[in-house]
Symmetry: C2
Subunit: 244 residues, 2 copies
């Protein structure tokens, strides 16, 4: 039984990114019948907050969502960026407080499902649980990347890495378009463990080199190849190709 969803980017340059979080085509369309409804939210709205006890799980239909964790003194770490197709809100323990918050970076549309119904569905159609498990394992790779980013890369490498990853995830949806990220510099800082001031300095530098373009609340990725270079992806790929 080969239960893994077919994944197209096995050989592509950014395969280390979990760019394939989408459920579309992975069999979980089957849960569409369980939908409890859609919910529309505005930028900066919260879908849930750390400590909430929720009965639902979500699939992101439109917009960007950020999962984050906040320390009591105001320091914030953004944990994941969710793009349309992402499945989220499922905690390991039922009736437990959410371990993190989910906030909209843009206007957002989510499909809402009853967690209980979903679990029942897993019981009826076990292959769905397997698919979710595999998604979960895939997400883990992305988290591993983020750990390496935060722990062992310089500020510029981190931000370049982030941009290349997002460029890749967006290109998979809209090939041929210059990727535009609806993120504030502060959000980028909270993603990469940096201050917004330092993020700004990096962006200024790159803007002068025409690697990115900033404006209108968007960051446009103009030379992803050069950014991949800064991120240190080139050499790493070579090393992997040798071992493969």
């Amino acid at each position: 039984v080969n239960i893994a969803a077919p994944v197209s980017c096995t050989a592509c340059k950014a395969r280390h990114f979990a760019s394939c979080q989408s459920l579309t085509g992975s069999g979980l369309d089957a849960i569409a019948g369980l939908k409890a409804g859609d919910r529309r939210l505005a930028a900066a709205d919260h879908i849930y907050r750390e400590g909430d006890i929720i009965e639902d799980v979500f699939i992101l239909v439109d917009g960007w969502v950020l999962l984050y964790h906040m320390l009591e003194d105001g320091r914030r770490q953004i944990l994941e960026i969710l793009l349309p197709g992402a499945f989220f809100g499922l905690q390991p323990e039922f009736k437990a407080a959410m371990s993190h918050s989910a906030v909209c970076a843009t206007a957002v549309k989510v499909s809402v499902f009853s967690r209980q119904h979903l679990m029942n569905k897993f019981h009826d159609r076990p292959e769905l649980a397997l698919r979710v498990m595999i998604m979960c394992a895939r997400d883990r790779l992305a988290l591993y990347q983020s750990l390496t980013n935060l722990g062992r890369r310089t500020a510029r490498e981190r931000v370049a890495h982030l941009f290349v990853e997002l460029d890749h995830r967006l290109r998979a949806r809209q090939p041929g378009v210059v990727s535009a990220l609806p993120l504030t510099q502060e959000q980028i800082g909270d993603l990469m463990g940096l201050s917004k001031v330092h993020v700004n300095r990096i962006l200024q530098d790159w803007r002068q080199q025409h690697l990115v373009d900033v404006g209108r609340g968007l960051i446009r990725i103009q030379r992803p190849a050069k950014l991949a270079d800064i991120a240190g992806l080139g050499a790493e790929e070579k090393a992997l190709r040798r071992t493969a």
Copy 2:
């Protein structure tokens, strides 16, 4: 259907740590019949390396295992510490190169299972896939904690956090014993994104305050409560209790 494994630490002070990775008692004992054999390894041996293509998955029986990712220039990030009971080696894509390496921190014994047989078993007994999925979700919480650690905490907070987490995970197995960590200072640095020199300075400081004791290749946690304080866990818990 309540499929979540009973977890005892819902209310305990360190519940944010995924200290409960163990499979024991979570229903996956059922896969014991699939065991392909045991493997014993010495400290510093690798179970697999980044880039390897393996057919097996593992359950750690004895010893400590470190999962890590290495950059081409030698920088290393340790991604997870595995204690006995941990299930690992399952990649989202079959026949794909491992995304990380697994190395023994101590002498180790692992049970080896054929991934193919395991997947067949999931097919026969779907509730097992669900359990693994839930484990996976639980691990994610630990990874979220690590991200917050690396991105938004100071060096001392990070190391204190690590020690408290490990102390908790060890106490769950051996209550009443002073926790002793078989980690080098360099490994602690690679876990927390620090240089081994800086780790040493922090440890010297704490040793003089009798918070920890160093020697014989072990780090003994003597005052976990004080370390939890340094880690900033006290205030955070209060904040959570308010919301709950």
